[in-house]
Symmetry: C2
Subunit: 173 residues, 2 copies
C-alpha cells in the first residue's frame, strides 16, 4: 500500500512556540490573518485510523491521526492533491508510562496516551483556504480554537511537504 | 468518559518469549490446547480507534488498538463484561524515527510506525473460548496465525486485568 504524509503532532508545539515570537497577524505586522478553522469538525472521534505518532523530548506526546471518509479514500487510492472535503484530525495526548503494563513486563517500557493536550485538523477547501495551500488549519485546546497569531506558523511548516499536498503523516498499512 | 483496559502490544513479544521455554500444549505437557483464533477477522483496518501504544526497549513498537462496533459501544458505555461479538485489534509496527519530521523540528524527536510486525486480536465468544476467559486470542505475522504453543501465554497475562474483563487498553477520549 502506498504511503503518504501528513504531520501535525510536532507542529502543535512548534506553532505555539513560534507564536510567542511572531507579531500578531492583522495587528503588529499589518497583514490580515489567513482564514483558519475555528469550528470543531463534527464526528472526528468516529473516523478511521491513519497512523499513530510519538514525539519525544519536550513535546512528550503520543497520539493518533484519523481521517474522514474522503481522507481515507484519497490515502488508499494514492491520489494527490487531496480533494476538497478531506479532513484529517490529529489527537494528541501526554505520553505517559503505564504502570499496569509495566507490572506485567517487569520493567518500565510501556507508554500510553495520558491526558489530552490538543486536537488539530487540516480541512481541505481549495477556495476558502487558497492563501494556505487549500488547507484550513486548526488547533483546539479544551475544545477552544487557537487564536490567529498561533496559527500563522502552520502553513509555512506544512509547505515543506509540497510533494504530498502539505500532508506529512504516512498511512500505516 | 470511563476508561478500560486492554493491552496487547507488550504481550506480543512476551508471548513469543514464553513460548520458547514452555512445553508445547497438547504435546510435551499432555494438555490439549485451548482454542484460539486462527482466521483473520475481516475488515479490521476500517474499525475505529481505541488508543495508541508505544513500547520502548527491545520491543521498540508503535501501534494502535482498534475495535469493531461492538467493542467501541461497550467501551463508550462502560459495560463489563464485553459482549460476545466484541473484537479488538492491536496493530503493531516498528517504532522508527521520521527524518522528514525531525528536519522540521531541527532535532531527532519524532517517531512513526515503520514496518508492520504483527497484528493481534481478542475475540469475545464466551462459549467457544470459555477455557480462556471468554476471549479468543490471536497473533498474525505476515497474515499467518501463530502456532498453539506461542499462544498459550496470552490468557495468563490477560488474567491480570480481571477487573476489566481481561482487557488492558484504555479508551482514549
Amino acid at each position: 500500500m502506498r504511503r503518504f504524509t501528513f504531520w501535525l503532532v510536532a507542529v502543535a508545539t512548534m506553532a505555539a512556540c513560534i507564536a510567542l515570537i511572531a507579531p500578531a497577524p492583522g495587528r503588529a505586522d499589518g497583514q490580515p490573518s489567513a482564514p483558519y478553522v475555528t469550528v470543531m469538525p463534527h464526528g472526528y472521534r468516529d473516523w478511521r485510523w491513519i497512523s499513530s505518532a510519538h514525539e519525544a523530548g519536550n513535546l512528550n506526546s503520543l497520539g493518533a491521526v484519523l481521517g474522514n471518509d474522503t481522507a481515507i479514500k484519497a490515502y488508499r487510492e494514492g491520489k494527490f492533491p487531496f480533494p476538497d472535503g478531506t479532513i484529517i484530525a490529529a489527537l494528541h495526548y501526554r505520553n505517559v508510562p503505564s504502570d499496569e503494563n509495566n507490572n506485567v513486563f517487569g520493567q518500565a517500557q510501556s507508554f500510553v496516551p495520558g491526558l489530552p493536550t490538543n486536537i488539530q485538523f487540516m480541512v481541505k477547501d481549495s477556495k476558502k483556504y487558497s492563501a494556505t495551500g487549500g488547507w484550513g488549519f486548526a488547533t483546539f485546546v479544551d475544545g477552544k480554537p487557537a487564536d490567529a497569531a498561533s496559527m500563522k506558523s502552520c502553513f509555512p511548516c506544512h509547505e515543506m511537504a509540497k510533494d504530498t499536498d502539505l500532508v506529512f503523516t504516512h498511512y500505516a498499512p
